[in-house]
Symmetry: D2
Subunit: 353 residues, 4 copies
């Protein structure tokens, strides 16, 4: 792929926007060509408009690029979006209507019936929903979303189990990193030496997105729809003093009995993207940590360049059937990397040309 | 009570030992009279033997006391113990056999059939088990224990609910402070910017102690026994970067339906020690925090001088019936304060004279 | 003092405003009577307007008080102020002109020639400057300030040394807590696992306020003026991941030689407020910690109810003469407590009636 | 260099030992061939003996290697050592006597007159001291050391300034990361929400090593000796809650006046190893950060793969001439990487064959 596809970033100065830039530096298929942010930043060089918070240097080329207003004029045809839901609700349809492929990390349209909420390893087939979108029919543009950063780890860990044994009940308690709240996000006075047992709307998102992601695409007379997984689900979300990496304690009730080894096999053998050569896809998306005290965010969040999730502590549950801990890098696997992987999947399906 | 009762502390240099000293300073009934620790410390002035880690000054009188060897000779008749299980298994029976009232925070004998595992607000009647102990019959000595620091918060929150509605299933995920592991305990390299999803034996302790604490005292032909609560229970324990205060996410299935207000009433009206004038007992042992983002360890752990637990976020659970968050100060309510309150209860029952 | 003096708080919802409320609860002389904050908060009950971040409960009476607009109408005659410099520059003169005693923690007027910058133990005589203020002459109102939170610890430690030996050069490197930046203040993403070696304007404030505090009141033909200490001073300020408590490494060159014991004596014997019975004044304002690894913020910040500063590690300096570490509680001794102590001093001098 | 040189690691299970392994994975010249540790670990597979604390996976090949006893029999001819001073004092001479090139991070012999204390960018010529060692003459073996982790950043920043302007006085206040204390090292109870203003022997090491590193090699009748820099130096060392990266506030008095731009030029133009192609040497060892609030450990410690130091905040000093902040990665640039770079320099000089 000699000529890289030009990418526009909507919400370029935020934490996820910064990760897009970091992860796309040296990307073999994509190249950052346009950076948009709020009016406050628009017109400034990116290096001045953004408070770069990552531990790799801001690429010089990007630092010099001028931040554009969040308007369709002049934007490239592929847009990576990560903006507040209120803005996304207004802006993303404008870009889709203007013929852009909007690959979004925003939460605004994830649960819309004709918008695919996709994690390539889990439900790539849900992308068919694009064809139900009126934008697609009219301008060629469309909108694809990835999930909330917290649901990403559990859903990857649960997919191979759901496929083999079925899942009837899910119990998930999260311990989430501060980077999930963006920048400035969580005040240090709120989280030092502390746990905050509440993140607005997070439990609701986690519950509904989990069931949509694990749902099945069905063809109705009216077109394709996603039927959510029929399972009971309860999420409890907590913020803890960790920079990156969401840890989730998960318990599940299965549709049919499974031995411990069978679950481990399901994880190890889960390589749904094998052979597709998507640059950002990890070889082993779900990695089993055999040590008794893993996964841990500081030690495991960067596995697979931040795109693999780590599972550990599989053991019987006294209330449901099995419990385990799953960890994922919330701003890579759970946000920017997820968008990029969705875009790679779309590219490989010929939907970005 | 003009003449204070002399107290000996077994394990005086540890984190809980330090809390005993801090909490007994100015105690109206008790006075620290004897400090014992390992051979390494024995013979030294306490101020030299202990690395004092609390943020109130080490009392001068205590600093000058000489640390005794962990032997019964010279020990007072009331012993507060907080030592490693391996040592407790050996030492606590010696003190009980020597006629001491051993009020212990150690885990060694908590689950022994004739040892009461008591939290005064929850199961004061279990103290009858003392009379089943052969030490009691022979020397007058006995052994009473308090629970693990993590189970203390949930059990206080669950007791009034169990009494009114019954509890059939319990799901608890803890986020535990580092002080729970003693000193030096958790290495900073292990817990900075991290969560450790494993604490050895903690989940087992939490599950079995919960059911014993909520169990009922029954009279068999062979004597008194505690019949554990018949409920399914699943605990998941995590260490988080917090100094003091264990936060626990709890979900429960009730024996019969309860409205939200009924559960709140159960908590607010729960004052089982009212009128008993135990000096360390909080007026309101279970305090409801109405804010959506509470309880939080840094802000709520010191309620009731560290002896009250705080509950918040009561909401329906998608898998069981109700879920909530409970917080308790792990080295006060969950350890040193629990021992002291047990001793106060014993004193008020005339069992310390 | 049967009838307590009514106090108004300007900037009542901020971190220092909250500390005023906390420290004035049960104050023997003063009573909070009026709470003012920005237009955003004005008109709301305080409990709703303020995000209470302290670990003692917000007093019920205060929670129910309605927040007033920051206007002189209806304000009591004693105002404790802690607001941003830009607002202080405009508002504090209005209150002084309206006849109020404005006792301020704001930085706006600290260096103004006729405004006393006072720490009662250090330079109580500077209060004479009040009489130079035109407000005082016209309405009886006046303005008194306390210093920046970082300079407070070093200046208390240096005052007794300056008195006995003289000080010619001062080198101070601070490690400051996040609470010094107010709320929300420092983003957790900025300070977790990090040091920020810069706090805007802090080094300048520290240098100039130090010299004014240690300066001498002189009577010129034009009236009283403060002649700053003639010393060279260099401050380097850093933010570290600590909640409360500023630690400062200090090196000094003396005017004449001093032995180690002489400096320790100077600290121990420094009790300039002895016998004055100011309720908030600590018995021993500068406390020497003999341990090799003290002072430490978590263990020493609450000495003297947060009003004593702790010094330790006195040792020869390879460049200047002596070096040591000093710690003070930045929102108590360094801010709210300093204002209250200034007000107590003013009351004892009959300037608040 | 087709056949890599086999390297032995003495102290392989410690924090620096782990970094050796991490940094030598894929090293073009060196290959880990032998791992030695204490008797407790000896005989076990490395993966079992070491508690791996780095966020990249332990290489499989290394995990399977058996840990050797710390004896010369069977050891390769190049030894990277990082062990406690007490052990180093005994063991390192044995390996040198056995003909090994001992490239050490241990502190035991750094100040020995005939042992080079070398940082390749600063004083490569001090390696001549090797020829003064009796081991060298007898067995061919020798001992080379790198400095303490805290002095490394300041000395790199000061070298180009010393060369151009001379340095007469140095004032350094450190804020050091917990990884510098090894594992388990600093207890979380000691450092959460805290600063510890004392690290045993650290200030002494920093002062004496700084002057030796910046000293000059002279030829006396008795052989080569290093004459330390004639400067006054004062170091104050503090531990702060940071995982990796030592931040140091530095003030200096120069031998002759320098403008700000001249100092910046000295840093930017400082490339003493240019053209030598040492694999671990950073292109730009001292990197200037122009932002007002840098360097910061979390954002800058990985520059140059952890081998570059970052300087910022150059400004006039009120006591000496100039002050600035310098940051270096303490376990890479300040320890393991320093040893490796010394070995690369020795290899390029033909001293490892």
């Amino acid at each position: 792929m000699k000529n890289k596809l030009p990418i526009g970033i909507l919400g370029a100065t935020g934490m996820v926007g910064q990760r897009y830039i970091q992860l796309l530096e040296n990307h073999p298929w994509f190249e950052v060509a346009w950076l948009a942010a709020s009016d406050r930043s628009s017109g400034k060089p990116y290096g001045e408009a953004a408070k770069w918070r990552l531990d790799t240097p801001l690429p010089e080329r990007i630092a010099r690029m001028t931040v554009s207003p969040a308007e369709t004029a002049g934007a490239p045809k592929i847009i990576f979006a990560s903006i507040d839901a209120a803005y996304a609700r207004e802006l993303e349809p404008l870009f889709a209507a203007a013929g852009c492929a909007v690959v979004s990390n925003s939460s605004a349209f994830r649960m819309a019936p004709n918008v695919p909420l996709v994690l390539p390893e889990v439900n790539a087939d849900h992308l068919h929903l694009i064809e139900e979108q009126s934008w697609r029919k009219e301008s060629g543009g469309y909108l694809v979303t990835n999930s909330n950063c917290t649901v990403m780890g559990p859903v990857l860990a649960l997919k191979p189990i759901a496929d083999r044994f079925g899942i009837e009940q899910i119990f998930a308690t999260s311990m989430q990193a501060v980077s999930g709240a963006g920048y400035p996000g969580v005040a240090s006075m709120d989280i030092f030496d502390n746990v905050v047992p509440y993140i607005p709307n997070e439990e609701e998102k986690m519950e509904e997105e989990m069931l949509k992601l694990l749902g099945t695409l069905e063809l109705n007379p009216a077109g394709h729809v996603v039927k959510p997984l029929q399972a009971r689900m309860s999420a409890s979300c907590n913020r803890v003093p960790v920079i990156d990496g969401h840890t989730v304690s998960v318990s599940i009730k299965l549709g049919k009995p499974a031995m411990r080894e069978e679950i481990l096999d399901a994880w190890v053998e889960f390589r749904p993207l094998a052979g597709q050569d998507l640059p950002t896809a990890p070889d082993q998306p779900v990695q089993w940590a055999p040590q008794p005290d893993r996964p841990q965010p500081r030690l495991d969040r960067n596995r697979g360049n931040g795109m693999a999730v780590t599972v550990g502590r599989l053991r019987p549950c006294g209330v449901l059937d099995w419990k385990f801990t799953v960890l994922s890098h919330n701003t890579i696997r759970g946000a920017a990397g997820a968008t990029i992987l969705n875009a790679e999947l779309l590219a490989s399906l010929g939907k970005l040309s």
